[in-house]
């Protein structure tokens, strides 16, 4: 099983890093990141520390786009169906395909995120923050991206890529503002709408748990136990999405 999953992960990694839209998006994000230092100089009045933390967050936004795109087109698309014919005729379980694709895509995303991180650090210096805090932020950001990637991968067994991208981005956005969703549910007059917002709040993962920019700006460290807790929280959702994805993909008629 491990051999088959590793083979699938390797080919998925190769495939992912060759996807043109992904490369275009990645280059765009690099250009954006490169302008971080310039904007810090241009926009006066905002502390450099705050500016850089916000910039770091936008880097995660780009990575989310990469994850959503990759998840939507890696496992099942109408165009990729023929490639799946060849793959599924091999002695491999469908679940192994989902896991292999997830691992391969995850490695590709990690590689791209690290590359963006290196460029970002090279451009801004990030001298205001401790290295530990920077790496904690990158680790949590990677986990957040993986969570969205697993959601998008699961949705690819159900809906079209375009709908998948729309739903994943909506969930990503709503998850990042989940604190506001809770407040909104108590303020909305319409009972049905309030109920729906509440449901959304309880069912979507709270991605703001992975955002430590406020700690960075405040100059506070993040405890290891909090990092571990948040990693476990993310892992739970990833496992949930992947399990649903495996069940759906196993039932899928090609």
């Amino acid at each position: 099983m491990f051999r088959r999953v590793a083979t699938l992960a390797k080919i998925t990694l190769q495939e992912s890093l060759r996807k043109k839209p992904l490369i275009i998006l990645f280059v765009a994000s690099l250009i954006f990141i490169s302008s971080a230092q310039l904007s810090s100089l241009l926009i006066s009045g905002i502390p450099v520390k705050k500016m850089q933390a916000v910039w770091l967050r936008s880097l995660i936004g780009f990575s989310t786009l990469l994850a959503v795109y990759l998840g939507a087109c890696l496992l099942f698309t109408r165009e990729g169906k023929k490639k799946l014919y060849s793959l599924l005729s091999l002695p491999v379980r469908r679940g192994e395909i989902v896991i292999g694709k997830f691992i391969g895509g995850a490695i590709a995303l990690l590689f791209l995120l690290l590359l963006m991180g290196v460029v970002f650090i090279a451009v801004t210096g990030l001298k205001q923050f401790s290295y530990l805090l920077i790496w904690q932020a990158i680790l949590l950001a990677f986990w957040e991206i993986l969570l969205i990637f697993s959601l998008s991968l699961m949705l690819s067994t159900l809906v079209t890529p375009l709908l998948n991208i729309s739903i994943s981005l909506f969930v990503s956005l709503a998850s990042n503002i989940s604190v506001f969703l809770k407040a909104l549910s108590s303020q909305v007059d319409n009972a049905l709408l309030s109920f729906l917002v509440k449901i959304l709040y309880y069912f979507i993962p709270h991605l703001n748990r992975f955002d430590i920019t406020s700690n960075m700006i405040a100059g506070e460290g993040v405890t290891f136990s909090l990092v571990l807790k948040n990693l476990a929280y993310g892992f739970y959702y990833m496992a949930l999405f992947l399990t649903i994805g495996i069940i759906l993909f196993a039932k899928k008629e090609l």
Partner: protein, 309 residues
């Protein structure tokens, strides 16, 4: 061990096309393929050939029925270790080279790298792609992809080879080469199940064929027997004397190409009479064949039969 490489019993597959509307691609379909034979599943597009192959490799699930591969339930993913599959118009990771594709596929079957390398060399030579093994698949032509697809289906040295329209989209000259590869595999003792919409050409390389029409097997047996059109015969000959030729032409349906005349006679007695006439008038007989049904005639017959039912 089962004598049958493949047993299909009462297989039915229905697709939902719209809400409440279903179409039956396979209708209580049964089939047995003996080990070591080449079996052709022939029929027009939409007859259900690809549906059957997709069920056999687990791409889709049947609505009803059972399939056994070497006596084991096909639903078990491990049965695919004994199968080689070529999908219709195959599509692979185009950034790999031909050789890399074979080695990559070998890993799924647990073929050791050294063995995989050896097999890849042999297979590339079998399908005539030794010269293109280092070329990326994106630079392969349609026909080269078909060839590498066949090589890929053989990397695990399968006992059962499933080929879905192996000649589709290939020009007639190369189709002939693909057929000769299939014959070579058959000679190696492989069990081959192939689908095609080309009745005569493909049927000729098969030990047994079944004609599939609207999801059902309508005829099964040796191609020669299936195509036999009653007692009719076809006599091809040459003759110089136009008067004799005109007399024959007036009595029977005939065609003339490059000085060779072919007449269609209704039975053996008429055939014997014509042969003796030609020979006595100084003509020469080139060949005598059973009258054969054309693909169109077979499908027409099936349509008529369906209408009556």
């Amino acid at each position: 061990m089962s004598d049958f490489a493949l047993q299909v019993e009462n297989l039915t597959k229905e697709y939902r096309i719209r809400k409440g509307e279903r179409v039956r691609a396979l209708d209580s379909f049964s089939l047995q393929v003996n080990t070591g034979t080449t079996f052709g599943l022939l029929g027009p597009p939409g007859a259900g050939k690809s549906t059957l192959l997709k069920i056999l490799v687990g791409l889709i699930k049947p609505t009803k029925g059972k399939t056994l591969i070497f006596g084991k339930e096909q639903r078990d993913w491990r049965t695919r270790a004994r199968i080689g599959f070529l999908p219709e118009r195959p599509c692979f990771y185009d950034f790999l080279t031909g050789e890399e594709l074979l080695l990559h596929t070998g890993k799924f079957f647990g073929v050791p790298l050294e063995e995989s390398n050896k097999r890849a060399e042999e297979l590339l030579s079998l399908v005539g792609l030794e010269g293109a093994k280092g070329r990326k698949l994106r630079d392969y032509s349609r026909e080269m992809l078909q060839r590498i697809g066949i090589a890929r289906a053989l990397i695990n040295d399968p006992d059962l080879l499933l080929l879905d329209e192996p000649e589709a989209g290939i020009d007639p000259r190369n189709q002939k080469e693909i057929r000769s590869i299939i014959t070579a595999l058959s000679n190696r003792g492989k069990t081959v199940l192939l689908t095609s919409s080309q009745l005569i050409e493909t049927g000729n390389i098969c030990d047994c064929v079944a004609i599939l029409y609207q999801g059902k097997v309508t005829r099964k047996g040796k191609l020669k027997d299936l195509l036999k059109k009653g007692e009719g015969k076809k006599v091809t000959f040459r003759i110089e004397r136009r008067s004799v030729l005109n007399t024959i032409k007036a009595s029977y349906r005939s065609e003339e190409t490059n000085g060779k005349i072919t007449v269609h006679v209704p039975h053996q007695k008429a055939c014997d009479e014509i042969i003796s006439t030609i020979l006595s008038k100084g003509g020469s007989i080139i060949k005598v064949e059973d009258e054969q049904l054309s693909l169109e005639e077979i499908y027409q017959e099936e349509t008529v039969r369906e209408t009556h039912v």
